[in-house]
């Protein structure tokens, strides 16, 4: 596996980058959905973000990457309880994956050799405290998507199968990407993703040329390219680490809460998840930019990310939903 393309070297696609950074600041935001054309750097951005994130401290060999010895689940047999640091896990969920591979299942080997009932952890365990990336999420079997969203929301994987009864923490950021041409995602599922981004091929010629030049430079001499961008990447990483500690201190005034609610009512978004996500995303942005209070300008910038996938389809409006959100934001927040 080659080294990932540096996050800071990705040209344009600011919304996508911002959304990913926000989930790194506040993993509780509930995942990102990136929908758009082929060859726009969706996968590149996910891998780049993973390479950029700070390492995590875990108990060596723990199947769920526990942060300390007492969190190690009792079904995991570990020889040592030594702490090691490792890169933030990014687990790929391949299409056509089976449910037992996702949730974990009976360990066949131990069942056959020792006659014991033991649990073999699945991808959800591996992804704990990290990222779970699904390319072509719209082609994934519905029951797998349901399961993933459920676990992503509750932060716990409950396995009741083959006589096993196991629960283990599974807190991860779900990143889904896909091409709408291949099929839409059910609205119920759309709503469960915290943020959504629509990416397009850049129409600006200069931007396109810059993308290709950087890609070419990266491919001809990856080492030199990575060295060139290391500093910028480190800056973003430091900013994310700072933002994580600052997140709890971001003040949220009553007028801002009112703004959130007014905005969601004006847009007619279903349920209250819209308000909550908008609030969280705004706070994460404030923390990331070093502001100590949530302001209107933060809401304005994250509104399209947090709300555009929660609107009802309006057949008479030809503009995309992101445009509708921006328009309403201008009307409501001025």
């Amino acid at each position: 596996m080659t080294q990932a393309f540096p996050f800071s070297a990705i040209v344009g696609q600011d919304d996508m980058k911002l959304a990913m950074v926000l989930t790194a600041v506040d993993p509780k935001l509930g995942g990102v959905l990136v929908f758009g054309d082929r060859g726009t750097g969706k996968s590149t951005a996910v891998r780049a973000l993973a390479a950029l994130l700070p390492e995590i401290e875990t108990v060596a060999g723990c199947p769920v990457n526990s942060a300390n010895a007492k969190d190690v689940p009792d079904w995991a047999v570990l020889e040592t309880k030594q702490m090691v640091s490792r890169p933030t896990p990014v687990v790929d969920l391949p299409l056509g994956v089976t449910e037992d591979r996702v949730t974990g299942a009976l360990d066949i080997e131990r069942a056959l050799t020792a006659g014991e009932k033991a649990f073999q952890p699945g991808l959800l365990a591996q992804a704990n405290r990290g990222y779970l990336y699904i390319d072509e999420v719209n082609l994934l079997e519905d029951h797998i998507v349901d399961l993933l969203l459920d676990v992503a929301q509750s932060g716990e994987n409950v396995v009741e199968r083959e006589g096993l009864s196991i629960r283990h923490p599974a807190r991860f950021v779900l990143v889904g990407s896909g091409n709408p041409e291949e099929g839409e995602l059910r609205p119920q599922l759309l709503d469960r993703f915290g943020l959504s981004v629509e990416v397009r091929s850049p129409s600006d010629i200069e931007e396109r040329i810059e993308v290709i030049k950087r890609r070419d430079a990266y491919e001809s001499n990856p080492k030199a390219f990575l060295r060139k961008w290391r500093e910028a990447d480190t800056d973003i990483r430091d900013q994310i680490i700072d933002a994580r500690t600052a997140l709890d201190k971001v003040k949220t005034g009553k007028p801002i809460l009112r703004d959130c609610a007014t905005l969601c009512v004006a847009l007619g978004s279903d349920g209250l998840r819209g308000e909550l996500t908008l609030l969280r995303a705004g706070r994460a942005l404030a923390a990331y930019e070093g502001d100590n209070a949530l302001g209107r300008e933060h809401l304005q910038r994250v509104a399209a990310l947090a709300l555009s996938h929660r609107l009802r389809r309006d057949p008479l409006d030809e503009a995309g939903s992101a445009t509708r959100v921006t328009r309403t934001v201008q009307e409501v927040l001025g």
């Binding site: 391949p94 299409l95 056509g96 080997e109 050799t113 072509e136 082609l139 091929s201 040329i209 890609r215």
Partner: protein
């Protein structure tokens, strides 16, 4: 002409052999036959061994999995390595039948594994029957051997190059990128592949730097097969920038918009004359994306297959309810007739509201895997607007708007005209809907149902 196609295909293969890491692979579109056989024989110059893949392969065969018989007999877990664990050149036959999940696995493998080379043998007969786009766009060359007559084919000469790198100057990168944009190629993977092709061609000519000739070859081989518009057509998605005060910047970017005319000519020479027709066709309602999503959801369409030997791998499930339903008749014609008779008739024509309701119902059905079609029975004289007011002009405008929306959603429609004299307004409506217009001046229930059935066969089968 066929000699030129053949030589170009052979050149593509040579370049791929020279730089498999940069160019990733080739899509060969050809029906089985001696010409394809000759070409496949020439694949031997790619990195050995040639590993055959088949679209119906299971995930386990590709990625490896538990070897059940070995595991049971030896009493410990035995894993069988998958084909993708090998290194070599992967050749997929009948690539046009490759399902999306296998395509996604291969695409992910291509992305994470720079040493993988993939050859897709595409035997698609129709324009929209082709190898998955997710793979096609990752492979540099797309060659179509179907235009070649039998006699001209001769085994391509084998050439080897002393491997060395060639420099590409920034102007060349910009030229290829701009040209790709002008040809309407959205993906940014394409220019990168074109640059790699130019580089490989320079190497093949023992040059240390790319020249215009290399760029022209790259444009011809990589860009031209993916073009979706003629290079002189206005750029798609180009938006005039609001204000640019810096005159220098303006002139600079204007200069960039016109890459070397030589490059444009090189591409134009190989673009099919009927490019616009094919593009329009593929953009029409019949080919909305690859349709994979719709197919995947279609668990309510057709009769479920009987059980077959094999392993349940998360993709196949037996649809019990559908099986039972298929076995017993459950629709009552009488009941439907009674329900229809109960509908209130007469009054105004809220055409827009009707179209809206129909569209919503159809989209809902579509999302459940059905293939809905709208059949319109109306006099077409809209007199109630969408907001319920009795404004005739507004009602007409609303109805047109809704019809345009239905067309944009790609819903097939048929307008039945039951008037004794054909109504031009209905022909117009069906035109707006992009549907069929069926005048049935002397229709009874039986004939109407027959005509509708025929229209549905046409509309959905196409």
């Amino acid at each position: 002409v066929s000699k030129a196609i053949w030589e170009k295909a052979c050149l593509a293969l040579d370049l791929l052999a020279a730089d498999p890491r940069g160019l990733r692979g080739i899509v060969v579109r050809a029906r089985a036959g001696p010409i394809r056989d000759t070409f496949i024989a020439a694949l031997s110059r790619l990195k050995a061994p040639l590993i055959k893949l088949h679209p119906a392969m299971s995930r386990d065969a590709l990625l490896g999995g538990v070897d059940l018989s070995q595991t049971l007999s030896s009493g410990r877990l035995v894993r069988a390595p998958g084909l993708l664990a090998q290194s070599g050149t992967f050749v997929m036959t009948m690539a046009e039948r490759c399902p999306p999940d296998i395509a996604a696995i291969l695409a992910a493998h291509l992305d994470s594994n720079p040493d993988m080379t993939l050859v897709l043998l595409d035997e698609g007969a129709e324009a929209d029957e082709c190898a998955p786009n997710v793979l096609r766009e990752r492979l540099a060359f797309h060659v179509d051997l179907d235009g070649i007559g039998r006699l001209e084919a001769a085994p391509p000469p084998i050439r080897t190059f002393s491997a060395k790198d060639a420099k590409v100057d920034p102007k060349a990168i910009a030229d290829l990128t701009v040209l790709a944009a002008r040809l309407g190629i959205d993906s940014l993977r394409t220019p990168t592949l074109a640059i790699a092709a130019a580089r490989a061609h320079a190497v093949s000519q023992e040059r240390g730097e790319t020249t215009d000739e290399d760029l022209a070859i790259a444009a011809e081989l990589v860009l031209a097969p993916r073009a979706t518009q003629m290079p002189d057509a206005p750029e798609q998605g180009e938006t005039p920038e609001p204000e640019r005060s810096d005159p220098q910047e303006q002139s600079q970017s204007e200069g960039l918009d016109i890459p070397d005319e030589m490059l444009v000519e090189a591409v134009r020479a190989v673009l099919p004359v009927d490019l616009m027709d094919t593009v329009q066709q593929s953009a029409s309602r019949s080919a909305k994306g690859s349709g994979a999503g719709q197919r995947k959801k279609g668990n309510r369409r057709g009769r479920p297959l009987p059980s077959r030997p094999g392993r349940l791998d998360g993709q196949a499930r037996l649809d019990l309810v559908a099986t039972l339903r298929a076995a017993a008749p459950w629709r009552s014609l009488v009941q439907t007739k009674r329900r229809l008779a109960g509908l209130p008739g007469g009054g105004g024509t809220p055409l827009a509201a009707g179209l809206k309701a129909a569209g919503e119902l159809a989209l809902n059905a579509q999302s459940q895997g059905l293939s809905p079609m709208l059949a319109l029975l109306t006099d077409g004289r809209a007199n109630i607007a969408l907001d319920g007011s009795g404004n005739r002009t507004q009602a007409g405008a609303d109805a047109t708007k809704m019809a345009t929306w239905l067309r944009a959603e790609g819903l097939p429609a048929v307008v039945l005209d039951l008037g004794t004299r054909p109504q031009p307004v209905l022909a117009e409506l069906s035109n707006t809907l992009g549907g069929r217009y069926l005048p049935l001046p002397r229709a009874d229930a039986h004939r109407m149902s027959e005509a509708l059935g025929a229209a549905m066969q046409d509309g959905l089968g196409a």
